[in-house]
């Protein structure tokens, strides 16, 4: 399977060309996202035209609403779980491992962490740490099943994580219905018992106020953003500053060469999937610790699959994934206003899908162009200096 990491496939440093090499490299690097963005806009415009709406009016409405403070706060809040899901997927991608099981890992982790958190009494910081720890452990353990199957029995993680998603959903539904739910008066939403105050993540509203802005009524900046940023920094350190990150890169790029130079690829496979699952375990916690304080039937689903798109769009880079998560979140938030001008809000799903598809195609095309031109430059250089 080819790699999707940007490590081996990134447009190479501009080859030693006489003139215009650097400019060309920059152009190529910018070309892919621009081309993909234009293409995605084109597809969405076609979809809008087909349903009898004026694309420009729709985009203007989305921009206008999406840039209000309220929308910005909601966009950032919703980007946090997307970012975590994207990082979880990207950790696997770094080693050419497709963790499609983020979905199952985070739902199981959120359920068990919410229940465990409600069952104990601890002081504030400890309580939060406890819930985080449970979530990370559950997510890692669930990914660990796929890891063990892969290194001991050679089962592809693509298929095992897909199957484990269904199993996780079944187990979560069973546990919630039979063991962990608390009956709520006057509501048919079954959910786990509410977390006590000591497990409520503090909001970042003081920060917003410090910037001289007043959060609108009922909207707050969730504190879990801090965790996402910490995970992002940790991910950056891991991939670019640590020995393990180097081994993962090596093993993902060329397992045989890595093995020959002493990298234990089985160990890196297991650790990578455990890390990926651990981060995946955090995905649902922004909601558990910040807004719902429980896990219930109406818990947000599908973040794991969207996270794959976010990781692809962000090219597995800590900063890129952040932009991708914000873009996805922005599209979803700003399209919610479209119902007032009679445009289906679901247009954002088409936008997200076409962006991801065109981005991966564009990156691959640009990589090819860059690779051929680099090859040509090398050939020219070697021709010039005959041995």
């Amino acid at each position: 399977m080819s790699t999707t990491t940007d490590a081996p496939t990134a447009p190479p440093e501009p080859a030693p060309r006489a003139q215009g090499g650097a400019l060309r490299g920059v152009l190529l690097a910018v070309a892919a996202p621009v081309v993909a963005g234009v293409f995605a806009l084109l597809v969405s415009s076609l979809a809008l035209l087909a349903s009898g709406n004026a694309p420009l009016e729709v985009y203007a409405t989305m921009l206008e609403d999406g840039t209000e403070l309220r929308s910005i706060l909601i966009t950032v809040n919703n980007a946090v779980p997307l970012y975590l899901a994207g990082v979880a997927v990207a950790i696997g991608f770094r080693m050419s491992l497709f963790n499609i099981g983020v979905e199952g890992q985070y739902s199981l982790a959120a359920l068990l962490a919410a229940s465990a958190g409600a069952a104990v009494e601890l002081p504030l910081v400890l309580h939060l740490a406890f819930v985080l720890l449970v979530a990370v452990a559950v997510g890692a353990a669930w990914a660990g099943v796929a890891a063990v199957l892969k290194v001991t029995r050679g089962v592809s993680e693509v298929i095992s994580t897909i199957l484990l998603n269904v199993v996780a959903a079944g187990i979560a539904a069973y546990l919630l219905a039979e063991h962990l739910q608390e009956r709520v008066e006057g509501s048919n939403n079954s959910r786990t018992p509410l977390l006590p105050d000591s497990a409520h993540f503090p909001t970042l509203d003081p920060l917003v106020r410090a910037l001289g802005l007043e959060p609108p009524q009922g909207t707050r900046l969730g504190g879990f953003l801090v965790v996402a940023i910490a995970v992002g920094i940790g991910y950056w350190v891991l991939i670019s500053r640590s020995r393990f990150g180097f081994e993962v890169k090596a093993a993902g790029t060329n397992p045989f060469a890595a093995m020959a130079s002493g990298v234990d690829t089985r160990r890196t496979t297991v650790l990578t999937l455990l890390l990926s699952g651990g981060v995946a375990g955090l995905v649902g916690l922004a909601q558990v610790l910040g807004t719902s304080f429980s896990y219930g039937l109406s818990f947000t689903a599908g973040l794991g699959f969207t996270g794959i798109g976010v990781a692809l769009l962000g090219r597995n880079s800590p900063v890129g994934i952040a932009f991708a998560a914000l873009l996805f979140s922005f599209l979803e938030r700003s399209s919610s206003t479209l119902q007032f001008i009679d445009v289906p809000t679901e247009i954002y799903v088409i936008m997200q899908g076409s962006i991801v598809l065109s981005v991966v195609v564009a990156y691959e095309a640009v990589r090819r162009v860059a690779a051929t031109s680099a090859e040509r430059a090398v050939r020219r250089a070697t021709d010039r200096s005959p041995a």
């Binding site: 399977m1 080819s2 790699t3 999707t4 979809a47 087909a50 349903s51 497709f98 499609i100 199957l149 029995r153 050679g154 089962v155 592809s156 693509v158 298929i159 095992s160 897909i162 199957l163 484990l164 998603n165 269904v166 199993v167 959903a169 079944g170 187990i171 539904a173 069973y174 219905a177 039979e178 699959f305 969207t306 794959i308 798109g309 692809l312 289906p344 809000t345 679901e346 247009i347 954002y348 799903v349 088409i350 936008m351 997200q352 899908g353 076409s354 991801v356 598809l357 991966v360 195609v361 691959e364 095309a365 090819r368």
Partner: protein
């Protein structure tokens, strides 16, 4: 027959020496084996039915529902087979299935069920074409492209539902569901399953083994939709095309070694395109099969595209094997839907199957496996004895666990196409 030069042409008996078991399985050659396994399963099922009193295990209702539920999974699996035999992994089957359900339901309501089937096929094929453009022409990683197509397919269906149904103009339809599509005609086997209905009478007679066989067969032959028959026929047809024609040989050669195929003048790109578009068409047909006689609902496919892929691997990239896999998923679904308490019988069935495995392993002198199988068998038997019902949430994923176990046990013996999932670029040998 394409059996590699090995010892003797036919299986000497039921239990083969372990060393020869793997490479000699040709798709039809082991038919005696298949019959033997089927008969063995039937005996076990009947036994379990009598012991547990769960009549639904072998009733015609269950087997009929199992067939209906297996069809979309099996068609998705056929799609996976065609693509992967040409070396393209198609994770996007789920998205193509969704496209098939939406367009199948829309056209099916507006024009008629058969037109809906065609529309579903066409919509799935378009999804396949997209996948082919991304993976074959642009060389995008297959899983990446497939994931993107799943996102897109789901988005298109949701968006179109809003556009077409949200205004309430279509009777019975809403923002997340379509109107009811008329069913396609049913047929029954004359004499045996209709009219005198010999199988039905035998089923009601309550005889051990005979009534069980009659029940299972009756369900498979009574009131079967023409679309289901078409889907079932596509399995041997796929086998014939892929393994019996020059086209199929070339297509498979592309999935095994595209460089060598290209050097022999096989049009690698064109065949990959054909295979992936066909793959999408199969998935689209699977989607249409879900909605004909029913409606489109958001989230209706419920991961069947992924399960189809699992069935392909379960079946070792063979039509017969994937049909068995799809049947297993369908049967578990049917039991869960029809009779939750019959599922308790399944626990006993698993225990008995494991005892059989233990015996086989004993003959092969693999003591650790024998012990492991017996221990797990005992656990299942205890579970069976301890509970009255199995929670339905846990039953839903039985086939998934079974597939995981099969993969864990047999993945060393499975043989995917050699160049499966690898990007191919003409003139660049990697």
């Amino acid at each position: 027959m394409t059996a590699p030069a090995g010892p003797g042409p036919a299986a000497p008996g039921l239990v083969e020496p372990a060393a020869q078991a793997a490479p000699r399985r040709s798709p039809l050659g082991g038919w005696q084996r298949v019959v033997a396994v089927a008969l063995g399963l039937l005996v076990l099922l009947s036994l379990v039915r009598v012991l547990s009193g769960a009549d639904e295990l072998t009733s015609s209702g269950t087997s009929g529902a199992a067939l209906r539920l297996a069809v979309p999974i099996g068609l998705a699996a056929l799609g996976g087979l065609w693509a992967e035999r040409a070396g393209v992994v198609n994770i996007g089957l789920e998205g193509m299935l969704i496209l098939g359900t939406w367009f199948g339901a829309y056209v099916g309501f507006e024009v008629g069920p058969w037109a809906g089937v065609l529309a579903g096929v066409a919509a799935g094929a378009v999804g396949g074409l997209l996948h082919a453009i991304a993976t074959v022409t642009f060389g995008v990683d297959h899983v990446v492209s497939g994931v993107a197509i799943n996102l897109l397919g789901g988005g298109v269906a949701q968006y179109l539902s809003q556009v077409a149904y949200a205004d309430g103009q279509v009777p019975g339809a809403g923002p997340t569901q379509s109107a009811v599509v008329e069913p396609i005609a049913d047929v029954s086997l004359p004499v045996l399953s209709s009219g005198p209905d010999l199988l039905g009478r035998l089923e009601d007679a309550g005889l051990f083994l005979l009534s069980d066989a009659a029940g299972l067969l009756g369900g498979l032959t009574r009131g079967v939709s023409l679309l289901t028959i078409l889907a079932v026929l596509l399995v041997p047809l796929s086998f014939f095309v892929l393994w019996g024609t020059a086209f199929g040989l070339r297509l498979r050669s592309v999935g095994e070694n595209p460089v060598a195929a290209d050097s022999l003048g096989v049009p690698v790109y064109r065949l990959k395109y054909a295979a992936v578009v066909a793959s999408g068409a199969f998935a689209g047909l699977g989607g249409a099969a879900l909605v004909v006689g029913s409606i489109y609902r958001e989230g209706q496919t419920a991961g069947r595209g992924f399960i189809g892929l699992a069935a392909v691997i379960f079946g070792n990239w063979r039509p017969g094997g994937l049909a068995a896999g799809a049947g297993l998923f369908g049967y578990a679904d049917a039991l869960q839907l029809r009779a939750g308490n019959a599922v308790r019988g399944l626990l006993l069935l698993v225990a008995l199957l494991l005892v059989v495995v233990a015996v086989v392993q004993l003959l092969r002198r693999r003591l650790p496996m024998v012990v492991a199988a017996l221990v797990v068998a005992a656990a299942f038997a205890l579970w069976y004895a301890a509970v009255d019902t199995v929670p339905s949430q846990l039953v839903g994923f039985t086939p998934h666990i079974v597939t995981l176990v099969v993969l864990a046990v047999a993945s060393q013996r499975l043989r995917p196409p050699a160049a499966d999932g690898q990007p191919y670029r003409r003139g660049q040998q990697s």
